[in-house]
Amino acid sequence: MIVLAFLMSFALDAFSQTKGAATPNPGVDWKALDHKWLDSEKNGDLDYLQQFFADSYVLVLANGQSYTKKEWLGILKGPDRPTLLFLNSENIQAHVFGNVAILTDHTTIKGHDSKGNSMDGEFNVFRVVIKQNGSWKATGVVMNEDRTKKP
């Protein structure tokens, strides 16, 4: 198995032409980043989100439905935008790997969609942010309803 691992490492590394450079990220306040993200969605700060979402951004809801950056911002700025009365994250954990970080958090949502259907829920969320041109940008989100405490 060690031989296999070595071979795989060698073969896969051969495809990459550039050595990765893990950039240290001193002073990044991941909790503040997470909260700013959610506050902007709650308050409709679309200018910030336009900048903060990478072009590659994808949002995956708990039902597997996915939205691109264009699609999600279109919803937030359109007539069918949801009303978010409460949107907050707790237990934010950051897993930092140089120029990418995975954040996990517990997000509480209270609100409703444009038709009045409740969007209330507790979610455990997987967030991916990447460092591009010196700035951290969101590139992916996967939401899952938190059933960890339910029988």
């Binding site: 198995m1 071979l7 795989m8 990459s16 597997g64 897993h95 990418v100 455990n124 991916v128 899952n144």
Partner: protein, 158 residues
């Protein structure tokens, strides 16, 4: 032992085949990002093949130390917990494979992709019976690619 060598041989064959195929990509596209994207797609298959085959050695090699995965139901596991779930004798997986792989982002040291992973069985106390939409993250550490994490959401039946 025979099974282990069989798996190893299969994986080497897959890698060799992929390498041969990938060898043609740079001539057409010539982009390092394309190389990274192709590598990430291969890593996706290696990841799920190893999980399906309970290949602990490959998973240990593949997962970064600070690996994290979020499962349907919101269950969050680290590297050791994920491997323990895969090795759990109670786990039964009849099907596990990725399709529709799309690389969202590729840089010299980061790749983020989505796929639709078909899972049928029970793992970590969670029953799976169909397609899951997944975001997977790969990072390059000390010159080699490793899996940093994944978020998995069950796709509702249409």
């Amino acid at each position: 032992m025979t099974r282990t060598y069989g798996l190893a041989g299969t994986m080497i064959f897959i890698i060799a085949s992929a390498a041969a195929a990938l060898g043609q990509v740079p001539k057409k596209a010539g982009s390092p990002a394309d190389d990274v994207a192709a590598t990430a797609a291969i890593m996706d298959h290696i990841w799920l093949d190893a999980a399906h085959n309970r290949d602990t050695g490959t998973l240990e090699w593949l997962f970064a130390d600070d690996f994290v995965e979020v499962h349907p139901g919101g269950f969050i596991v680290n590297k050791q917990e994920q491997i323990d779930q895969i090795m759990d004798p109670q786990r039964t997986l009849d099907e596990l494979h990725p399709d529709d792989i799309h690389v969202l982002y590729a840089s010299p040291d980061v790749a983020v992709l989505t796929d639709i992973t078909t899972i049928k069985g029970v793992s970590g106390g969670v029953r799976y019976d169909g397609p899951q939409r997944v975001i997977r993250v790969f990072v390059k550490q000390q010159g080699r690619w490793r899996a940093a994490g994944a978020g998995i959401a069950r796709m509702a039946a249409k």
